[in-house]
Symmetry: C2
Subunit: 171 residues, 2 copies
Amino acid sequence: MKHQHPPIERELARFQEFLQVQGLKLTSERSSLVREIFATHYHFEADELLGKMREKDVKISRATVYRTLELLVKSNMVRRVHLGEDHYHYEHVSGNSHHDHLICTTCGNVIEFHDEVLEQRQREICERKKFTPTFHNLQILGVCDACRRLGAQPDAPDRVKMIHANNLLRK
Amino acid sequence: MKHQHPPIERELARFQEFLQVQGLKLTSERSSLVREIFATHYHFEADELLGKMREKDVKISRATVYRTLELLVKSNMVRRVHLGEDHYHYEHVSGNSHHDHLICTTCGNVIEFHDEVLEQRQREICERKKFTPTFHNLQILGVCDACRRLGAQPDAPDRVKMIHANNLLRK
DNA sequence: ATAGCAACTGAGACTCAGTCTCAACTGGCG
DNA sequence: CGCCAGTTGAGACTGAGTCTCAGTTGCTAT
């Protein structure tokens, strides 16, 4: 059971280095949050993270959760993504695998994908427009295979009413 | 001056037809909002629209603005887009020109583009994943040519602090 | 044309994610 | 090991968006 998550220790070290460079401190709250985030293999919401810390009787305030997420985003260890709902979701960056999302508007499932042709074409478009890209975000909304077999019809592209991925989150 | 916007009348007729099919009514509030939206050639926020109606002494409540926008999105006449800020922006759909966005994180300017190679590749990816797409949303954040010449450095992919595009809105 | 009624509206209370404030606390450098 | 900048928690605050409900209005059928 011990040493089950050596990668988490590596991430913690990475975060500590980032903090040190900025003249910031690695507090117990920050390291608990990093451990939790990197043990979670799914997209999560800030308030879900807060709830999970409370469940574990690790007392951390809402403000600290948001402040720490901000630092993690700045350090490129966490990415803030839109998944069709009207607030942010977060996902940790493992290694450096950029990916985009297919989002099922029926069951809320999120399928990640990466496609180099798409990436390359975007770089070409930016070059043509003399635009220096730093980041991009592609969501494709629709209906996944399983839901389509069950007869789900594609929604209008209105606000997606997603089934919360809480059950997936706690994996 | 009169007959300056015949296309707007066409849009109104389109909306009325949509409403009729749904058993809904074309009220004076709804038609004022449609006129305003289709006379505006830029991305706007719900509250900006509310403000513009107030400036013109057309009294429409916040709730009605949101309700009408929802109907317009359902009728595919207006699209709800994320532009890097934490709330929605809207844009009317002229004809049926789908496009994506390059967003300058320095000046807030938004460049629209459409690329058939990108679209086709996305369709291929969906097919391979057996996913039935209904809609997609691609934002590329970065620094535009003008800002780069002025020495702007690309931000970390943190929350974009955009200069509000209000000045652009009122064209 | 007009009565009737479902659809619609406005005012403002409400929700919910996210931010801010400030007094009390603490990590880590000197 | 003392100091103090950086950090935290509690809870007030903000701002976008939603909801409620009593009063109003567009439309259809008479």
